[in-house]
């Protein structure tokens, strides 16, 4: 009896396995497969951080402002972009082009135009503020524009640049965030349902060390260099006298500039923008936490603010139901004949002390 039971169980298991396999291979209609690969996010947010200050780090500000320009162009509104700039390059007295920041020596594009909204600037850019921002634990009284008001339907882009090392990113000149702290913050975001999917992008030296500790789901991460490698700058503008932009961001930007709002380009393509030949450093990618296939994820899922819109041709019948009054809603058992009386509880529970 026992033996036959075991045998039956094994047989059943094998049949189920084969059935599901065949189903998975061919029998599931393509539209269901695609359905899973489609994003179901409802809004887009971006957190763009330049963590380093000083004039000779001009390029980091240019990096961030370039990405800022791209996401804004692709439709994420300023209210949903948190821009952190640790230093003010535009107004640096050494800047021979006052109030302007360029990301290319040809100086065609001033990325510090009139419509840049910097949310955290200068010494506001700290590890504490960054972690508070991500986890939503901002100090009371923080302005709405300085909060990351995401929900379970948000796709969030996090872009970090600055000077990094193995397992940390330097903030300002005095502190650093470790990869563990970053992973904890993102885990909290997940637990608090603050994102749907997250795209994490870093351009620093040894950038890959920053995403190593992540454990939360639905994260796609890309880093400009592997552990032990330096990320390099792209070129100098000899009229300003500083390095303009970092290599990885330069090529990422080159790609993004060609992306339009309705683009069908995928994240898979974006992950390959900077081959070692041009980047010199090896770009690191982490996909294991991400459920979808990056080649089927639209780039606008993270870089754009486009939500899928359905156009209906049929008229819709909207029925107005009469609204109930406050009393009807709140008082379940109407007292017959007597008017309801309301008692306000006393402001101080003084009866307790009598």
């Amino acid at each position: 009896m026992e033996f036959s039971c075991k045998f039956l169980a094994i047989f059943l298991a094998i049949t189920i396995l084969t059935v599901t396999r065949t189903l998975g291979n061919s029998n599931v209609p393509q539209k269901f497969v695609d359905r899973i690969q489609k994003s179901n996010h409802t809004n887009n947010w971006a957190v763009l951080v330049d963590a380093s200050r000083f004039w000779f780090n001009y390029r980091h500000v240019a990096n961030v402002l370039s990405i800022y320009r791209s996401v804004k162009r692709l439709g994420i509104p300023d209210s949903q972009i948190i821009l952190m700039l640790a230093d003010d390059m535009a107004c640096n007295p050494r800047n021979s082009r006052p109030a302007q920041v360029f990301n290319n020596a040809n100086q065609h594009l001033n990325v510090y135009g009139d419509d840049v909204e910097v949310d955290y600037r200068g010494y506001d850019v700290t590890v504490e503020n960054f972690v508070r921002l991500l986890t939503g634990r901002t100090v009371n009284g923080t302005a709405r524009s300085k909060k990351l008001l995401t929900d379970a339907g948000s796709n969030v882009l996090i872009y970090l640049t600055g000077h990094g090392g193995d397992g940390f990113l330097k903030f300002q000149d005095s502190e650093e965030i470790t990869s563990q702290e970053l992973a904890d913050a993102i885990e909290q975001m997940w637990e608090k349902k603050r994102y749907n999917e997250l795209f994490f992008m870093v351009d620093t030296c040894q950038a890959a060390s920053l995403y190593e500790k992540f454990t939360s789901p639905n994260i796609l991460a890309v880093a400009s260099s592997l552990v032990g490698e330096d990320s390099l700058s792209h070129h100098v503008d000899p009229s300003i006298g500083v390095y303009m932009i970092d290599r990885y961001t330069y090529y990422a930007l080159e790609f993004l500039e060609k992306v339009q709002v309705n683009s069908q380009k995928t994240m898979g393509e974006f992950l390959k923008v900077c081959p070692k030949r041009v980047c010199i450093s090896t770009v690191g990618v982490r996909k294991d936490l991400f459920n979808r296939d990056p080649d089927k994820v639209l780039i606008t899922d993270f870089f754009g603010g486009v939500r899928p819109t359905k156009i209906l041709s049929d008229p819709i019948d909207i029925e107005f139901t009469p609204e109930k009054t406050f009393e009807e809603v709140n008082i379940n058992i109407p007292l017959e004949g007597a008017k309801p009386s309301y008692n306000f509880p006393s402001q101080f529970a003084s009866e307790l002390f009598d």
């Binding site: 000083f54 004039w55 000779f56 107004c91 640096n92 007295p93 050494r94 800047n95 021979s96 006052p98 100098v236 000899p238 009229s239 300003i240 006298g241 500083v242 390095y243």
Partner: protein
């Protein structure tokens, strides 16, 4: 002396002490040789590093130079005018420089100072510096950079540097039109060589705070420009240059941050000017690097000799005392048809250096402040050359430790003997008193020599009474003190123990002096170490006669005054050949008194340590060694007498 009397170390069966005591002379001699050997090794490329810039902010050569031919033409025009002015007016052409600075658009001021010459019986010199400030257009005046050019009259003995001021002004004119300066620039023209810059710096930093009755009354400045971060001094000899010599050594052997020197190297290389430390006409850029150890050592030694005399090689040297990084670009005039660098490339270099200095976010704080240059692109860091000095110093401390140990053993034995004889509780101690008094007297003698030499009243007294010049007075005072030093040992009668204590004291004293000096000015410390360490090795009570003779001879030859005298002889012989013996002696005496007087004056006006080190450390130390040696002879003589009897 806790360590020295630690029983675990000084117990009789302590192995290391035994070995040390047995072979102390060999070990000390080995240390001495090891130090010299290490120094020779410094020439090898394994012992020195190639130069690099460690300050990120400098980012040298990332900018295009914006200075144009117009500035070159302007410099040439200024030069013609300047020569004309210098020809027609005595002293600094103040109105002309003021007018030019105002025309350029600088905030222009003058600064007057007075020198009350300490030995002149009320002699007073005055001078005027001129400076113009270019305020940074978009930032508060919190930081500044100085560009200075000394004015040298036409009849000066030093090389003519008439192109410095025109180039300074031409650069100021071009800088005035830029919007990217983040620091105030001060364009400073000084007179009276180093006196002018010393007065200006004193006025800038202490203006109104110092005593008006002092020797150098530098007054105050009408305008300032924040904390000075760097300075560039120009000594450009002409409009056509052969090469640029970069001078770094400052007062008391101070050096500018190595980053600054490397920056200058980078920028001048970019502008294709042959430039470098101790550059000579034959030396071309990029071919100077040699792996030959002799060449390297020669270069190191030349730097050591320049640094050791504590005198700044240019006006930049006085900035170092305020921790302002400074160096001098000395443009050497091209011999005909041999021009390698024109005004434009010099101007471009200055601009390039300024752009980098402008990028500084804080004072120079990276790289090295203590180094020796092996080549323009190689250096020895403090960590690599310090072992030389430490090996020297080790000799003194090992010797004094062993002496102390020896002494303790003896005293213990002595005490034991007495303990046996006498009743309990009474322990005899050695009487150091006489040693301590002798030590104090020697130091006091040095102090009083220092005081008397620096006191103007003494020289005035001699001048009034006997009609002596200052130089003669100083020389005579020094010789008097030397005589007192020679009599000194006869004033004390030491027994053996006291002599030993005295020796321990002097060993430790010299060891400390040597260590301190080599930390602050390695070159001086190293040279002193070469001469002083044998004293430390030989200095011992009760050695054999030959050693004692050698020791006495060496001590006498090493007298500080004699050492100065050797220098005087060398200088005299170099400058005047074929002199009659009497004339020669006279010249040597003159050279000697000049050296001594310059030492005193430099000490009074600039704060040069050389005189202080000699009078306060070397002279007393010599007296102590001399007395120990002499009394040692006397002791051995008396003991022999005892034996004979």
């Amino acid at each position: 002396m806790g360590i020295l009397t630690d029983p675990s170390l000084s117990s009789n069966d302590g192995g290391i002490v035994k070995v040390l005591a047995q072979h102390k002379k060999k070990i000390c001699f080995l240390l001495y040789i090891a130090s010299l050997g290490w120094f020779c090794c410094l020439g090898m490329s394994d012992f020195n590093h190639s130069a690099y810039l460690s300050e990120n902010a400098l980012s040298p050569g990332l900018v295009y130079t914006e200075i144009t031919r117009d500035s070159e033409k302007l410099a040439q025009q200024y030069h013609t005018e300047f020569l004309h002015e210098r020809e027609n007016h005595k002293g600094t052409p103040i109105p002309w420089i003021l007018a030019k600075m105002k025309q350029i658009g600088l905030e222009t001021h003058t600064h007057n100072y007075t020198l009350n010459y300490p030995f002149g019986g009320g002699k007073v010199f005055t001078g005027t510096n001129i400076y113009g400030i270019l305020r940074a257009p978009r930032i508060g005046s919190t930081e500044g950079i100085v560009y200075s050019a000394p004015f040298r009259p036409k009849d000066s003995l030093e090389a003519d540097i008439s192109a410095s001021i025109p180039i300074l002004l031409a650069f100021a004119e071009s800088a005035r039109r830029k919007n990217y300066w983040a620091k105030d620039f001060i364009f400073l023209v000084t007179d009276n060589e180093q006196l002018g810059i010393q007065a200006w710096l004193e006025a800038y930093h202490l203006g109104g705070l110092q005593n008006d009755q002092g020797i150098l009354n530098s007054g105050s400045l009408p305008a300032r420009a924040g904390a000075l971060q760097a300075a560039l001094n120009l000594e450009i000899q002409g409009m056509e240059l052969d090469y640029i010599n970069v001078k770094v050594e400052g007062l008391n052997g101070g050096l500018p941050n190595l980053d600054y020197f490397n920056l200058v190297q980078r920028i001048t290389a970019k502008e294709r000017i042959s430039a470098g430390y101790k550059q000579t006409a034959g030396k071309m850029k990029y071919t100077t690097h040699s792996t030959k150890i002799e060449d390297n050592l020669k270069h190191i030694l030349s730097m050591i000799l320049t640094q050791a005399n504590c005198v700044p090689t240019g006006n930049h040297g006085l900035f170092h005392q305020y921790r302002i990084e400074a160096l001098t670009l000395q443009g050497i005039k091209a011999k005909s048809s041999h021009q390698r660098a024109g005004v434009l490339s010099v101007l471009k270099s200055i601009e390039g250096i300024s752009r980098s200095l402008n990028n500084l976010l804080e004072k120079f704080h990276q790289s090295f402040f203590f180094y020796i240059l092996v080549h323009n692109d190689r250096f020895i860091s403090i960590g690599d050359y310090m072992p030389c000095a430490i090996l020297f110093v080790a000799v003194f401390f090992i010797k004094s430790f062993l002496m102390w140990h020896d002494l303790n053993k003896k005293v213990d034995k002595w005490n034991d003997d007495i303990y046996d004889k006498k009743c309990e509780g009474e322990v005899l101690e050695i009487h150091y008193m006489q040693s301590i008094v002798a030590f104090a007297c020697a130091i006091g003698l040095g102090l009083s020599l220092n005081f008397v030499c620096k006191n103007g009243a003494v020289s005035e007294f001699f001048a009034v009474k006997f009609g002596f010049t200052t130089e003669n007075t100083v020389a005579i005072v020094i010789l008097c003190f030397v005589l007192v030093g020679l009599i000194f040992p006869f004033l004390f009668k030491f027994d053996e123990l006291e002599l030993k204590v005295l020796q321990i004291g002097s060993q430790i004293f010299v060891g400390c002096v040597l260590l301190t000096v080599s930390l602050l000015n390695f070159s001086l410390g190293f040279l002193l170490g070469i001469f002083l360490t044998p004293l430390g090795i030989f200095n011992e009570v009760g050695q054999n006669k030959v050693m004692k003779y050698l020791n006495s001879l060496y001590i006498i030859l090493c007298h500080p005054v004699l050492v100065i005298y050797y220098f005087a002889v060398a200088i005299t012989e170099q400058n005047f050949d074929n002199l009659a013996f009497k004339d020669f002696i006279e010249k040597v005496f003159m050279a000697f008194s000049n050296i001594a007087t310059y030492g005193v004056v430099d000490n009074l006006i600039y704060g040069n340590w050389m005189f202080s080190i000699t009078t306060l450390a070397l002279f007393p130390a010599w007296i102590l060694y001399f007395s120990a040696n002499l009394r040692d002879w006397a002791l051995s003589g008396s003991s022999r007498k005892v034996k004979v009897e």
